[in-house]
Amino acid sequence: MTFKLLTSVLFLCCYSFGVSQTKNEQEERVKVNEFPKVAQEYFNKLPNQLKLLRFYRESDGDKLSFEAKFKYKKQHYSVEFDANGILEDVEVLIKKKDIPKVSFETILKYFNTYFDHVRFIKIQKQYINASHTNDLQFINFVLDDSINKNTHFEIIADIKSNGKHLLKEFTFKSNGEFEKSRPVSSSSYEYALY
């Protein structure tokens, strides 16, 4: 009886892993040696005071990317690389009040124009390397002093328009000018609720 139950549970598990594989969308924590070689070395050369340093691999369809997350000078950083270890961006978690007043007003004006209501869920400063410096130099440049160097603001917000709620990710230039947006699946934000 117990054996039967165990096998059926095991079968269910295998089945579910099979499903997760066909869907091919997964984010998981990985060890440093599973990280792209080039990017691995950066973390030996960065300041020693990186706290809670963790590595993640994310696959979404054909796209594979890597992310390193850590805390430095009381701020939460997320550094994203592509499959080859080329830097995509650096992000820092911030609060609403950390957005400069002028930029924030421009951002609010955008939301007020297009939506009935907005509630910010997550705000990040985004740094994209547009200069000629290499990736390591750029990461160091951001870590050195992250204030006012960001190229963008990335905001995940719960917006309401025509009576419907929707979770979206918005990208604004550092001056507050709207650049792009995409829907975020709320399922990744809602799991164990019962």
Binding site: Q21, L193, Y194
Partner: protein, 242 residues
């Protein structure tokens, strides 16, 4: 192909190992509590099957059947059904992280000759926040428990955290942890106010997009302001989304 799947399975099992160790530690911790509580201590099992359905973006309904049985009582291991519960919740999503719910609940103890039946009405307000992959939930409940001609007014507050056990996003096939602390205050005309405390640890698996299984332990300290009753619940549940 089959081989590949197996590798994937083992990989998951491996990464979940240290969480299993943590769980083992918690079980031992509970075992410690049990041995301390001794004679009046009881252990019950609770199995839940729940179905959730979204009617619209803002309105969802839940139907749940729950069975509760004694596993350990009067210092002996036993299996005896205590009750069956059936309930319904209607949830109104106010926005992304606030929700209001209303519930009706029916408990049958009569058929098992273990006590009186109960009808219960519940009003609930839920607030949740999320930071760095961990979700924090605050749940406020007021309940009117009607047992025969008596009505007990129970107020509850639950603080819960949950997070995926691998990475910061819960993918299909992955496990998650749920921990909760709940305080309850029961008021009625005929008896003195009673305060309860509950602590819950659960591990869940998001097996498919629509099905999750959860199992864990709940420790209940009942009426500890009068004469404390201790009990341990072994929880198992299956939650289906249709």
């Amino acid at each position: 192909m089959v081989n590949l799947k197996n590798q994937d399975l083992f990989h998951h099992l491996h990464t979940n190992m240290r969480y299993i160790k943590t769980l083992l530690f918690l079980v031992l911790l509970f075992a410690g509590l049990i041995s301390k509580a001794q004679n009046d201590f009881i252990t019950l099992g609770e199995s839940v099957f729940g179905v959730n359905h979204d009617i619209s973006d803002t309105y969802s309904i839940n139907f749940t059947a729950r069975s509760r049985y004694f596993l350990y009582r009067d210092a002996t291991i036993q299996y005896k059904q205590q009750q069956v519960d059936i309930f319904h919740f209607s949830t109104l999503k106010l926005n992304y992280n606030h929700a209001l719910s209303f519930g009706v609940f029916y408990r049958n103890r009569d058929v098992f000759e273990s006590g009186k039946n109960e009808i219960r009405f519940t009003q609930q307000f839920n607030y949740k926040t999320q930071k760095l992959g961990v979700r924090y939930g605050h749940r406020f409940r007021t309940e009117q428990r009607i047992i025969d001609t008596r009505t007990i007014f129970r107020q509850r507050y639950r603080f819960a955290i949950d997070f995926p056990l691998n990475g910061q996003k819960l993918d299909i096939g992955e496990a998650y942890f749920v921990g909760a602390l709940e305080s309850l205050l029961s008021l009625s005309k005929t008896s003195t106010p009673a305060i309860d405390q509950r602590v819950t640890f659960q591990i869940g698996w998001q097996l498919t997009e629509d099905l999750k299984l959860q199992t864990g332990l709940e420790y209940r300290l009942e009426a500890y302001n009068i004469k404390a009753n201790h009990s341990l619940f072994v929880l198992t549940s299956a939650i289906l989304k249709i």
